[in-house]
Symmetry: C2
Subunit: 369 residues, 2 copies
């Protein structure tokens, strides 16, 4: 009851304290680091009471602004989603239920992604009936800051309509997190000409151009554009998005390993590394996955943030920050409105080829039924 009263004048975030590779040692420490984001920020910490309390004892400021919700059940990192959704009172299910009950404004978990997806969908439901599954967004570093890329793994195939939904979700998210009013939207493809790509991207491209969606559509972008920051939001199916994200992470890790090898390969290089270390740490920081931790599950009735499983406290605090920004913004209301608008606009959209026919008919003075 006290907590429900809290949620009206305070911003409460539910934390799955047992999720991730390190459990409460990281999730509680992360919450403590995140406290400074807002004065009215409070936490509900779900999981093993004694273990959470033991960590909380280290952070008196957090202890004063956190409630512990004990459960002895938690979901293993490798547990199948089908098993996870059958179990009651796990730390993850309880944290999501807190959002459902209006006790918390967002849930943050570093746990099992499949279980988080399945439980969030089951408990919170999708924002509209046509949405099939949440899309996973990510913040992708580039020289201008961060772009929002989605879907990075929730859906293995996506038709044109889903790609448009992703664009609306990505735009609403990007606006809420980065304050960009009309974020530009790129559609990931293998080239920039209209004729390039498979049927789904070509049809989505046509609908983006011919339908009134209220989006700032840029057009097709390519793999290189992801790291150049060509657009604020990049839309793609979950198969391609997941592979692009993991490829970029792999490329960055490979390059870092080669860099380290180079710096260790001779005495002058070692001295060089010592001299340049601080400067390089600064400029390479945006590429540290901890900086962009916090992938939203978009399209749900409620805010759900996925943290990397291996996150440390600083990184987990960044994921909490994403949840707080979304919770404090008009994101959910705006997204619901734009999805409703989309359904109307798509119903009115001309079918492929129809526009040209109409134009032709108008030009020749005849009528199109």
């Amino acid at each position: 009851m006290t907590t429900q009263a809290n949620s009206q004048d305070r911003l409460v975030i539910a934390i799955d304290a047992m999720g991730g590779d390190h459990g409460p040692a990281v999730t509680v420490a992360g919450a403590a680091r995140a406290l400074s984001i807002r004065d009215d920020l409070c936490f509900q910490l779900h999981g093993d009471g004694p273990r959470i309390e033991a960590e909380l004892a280290k952070y008196p400021a957090l202890k004063a602004r956190a409630t512990v919700r004990h459960t002895d059940q938690s979901i293993a990192m490798d547990e199948k989603p089908a098993s996870a959704i059958r179990r009651r009172n796990t730390s993850l299910a309880n944290a999501i239920n807190a959002v459902k009950a209006g006790e918390a404004r967002a849930v943050v978990s570093a746990g099992n992604t499949g279980a988080l997806m399945a439980l969030s969908k089951m408990i919170l439901k999708m924002l509209t009936d046509d949405l099939e599954r949440p899309a996973i967004g990510c913040s992708w570093p580039n020289p201008k800051g961060f772009a929002t890329v989605l879907d990075v793994g929730a859906n293995v195939t996506s038709d044109a309509r889903q790609l448009i939904e992703f664009a609306l979700m990505g735009a609403a998210f990007h606006k809420a997190i980065w304050g960009v009013d009309r974020p530009s939207i790129g559609l990931l493809n293998v080239g920039s000409e209209d004729m390039k790509g498979h049927d789904e991207v070509k049809e989505a491209h046509r609908l983006f151009k011919e339908t009134v969606l209220g989006l700032n559509y840029y057009g097709f972008v390519e793999g290189t554009d992801l790291c150049e920051g060509t657009t604020d939001v990049v839309v793609t199916d979950g198969f391609t998005g997941n592979i692009a994200l993991k490829t970029a992470e792999g490329a960055a890790r490979f390059m870092q390993a080669m860099l380290k090898k180079g710096f260790m390969s001779s005495l002058p290089a070692m001295i060089g590394a010592f001299l340049a270390k601080g400067a390089l740490k600064r400029t390479l920081r945006p590429l540290d996955p901890a900086e962009s931790n916090g992938g939203p599950l978009l399209g749900l009735k409620g805010i759900v943030i996925k943290s990397h499983g291996g996150a440390d406290a600083r990184s987990f605090a960044n994921a909490i920050k994403v949840g707080v920004s979304l919770a404090a913004s008009g994101y959910e209301r705006e997204l619901a409105a734009s999805l409703a608008q989309m359904t109307q606009s798509l119903a009115l959209a001309p079918e492929a080829g129809q526009t040209d026919m109409k134009d032709l008919a108008v030009a020749s003075g005849s009528k199109v039924i």
Copy 2:
């Protein structure tokens, strides 16, 4: 006639001397650098005679082992393939025709990719009737050396059978270039479990496991595996492969820019850069696209190598090297044999689910028709 005689005792490579951003200045210089690969290497240089001769004058050793095939027609870098295939006697078409006529063993071009694809397919034809389009391969750097990744852009969708064809092509190419006897094959996916991914990758995975293809199949690999060198060959559809390749290139460029920025940001960092420069240049070399230049168009009756359009002479020489290695190997013969074997094996392959039924039937003593 002289040249045809040459092609019997010498290894002749046809060069589209006009292709690429720099034309003969790079293609002729690249051929000159490539001469040292083999003593019996000769070139046919197709394009603007006077311009080629002017460059040739700088390289007497090359001049002695090259013939110039003049034409005043060439294909623009942005010309549509449909236009390119209608034009006769372009430097590119003539170079491909030299392979068709048996005058040259391979063609190398830094020109327009779409035109190269269309003309190669039209002039040389596919290796077997079922092959629809060539696949484009690339050499992908990793800590162990290079992997062969395909398709990186020729086909926007690929069904299970095509993915298997890519595996056979990739294995034959990798063996010819790197001398690995039974290269391991990974299938790019969003996870490693059997249930992951879309229908095409799941069906290909099943066929790889249940069909006698003579391949060393490893299983699913993810985006991170591309830069870790988990397998020798990585197979994927041309949409995903193109985006993965360009994403990795973009990530490497972004990181290099941030590195440069860091080195320039303070006096100690600048001194550090000076001290470490040589060592870093050495360890970061594999990531230089020039090192892995030369993407084969696989599945054709003849060897066709695509160089980056912006290649310099060193980089173009690497593309020639790929053509020479393929031409000097049993690649074409082996690939034709393995494609024929594949057609037989797939005809005998159980349909999805059938294997389990058979096992069940055997276990219960009953018969399966």
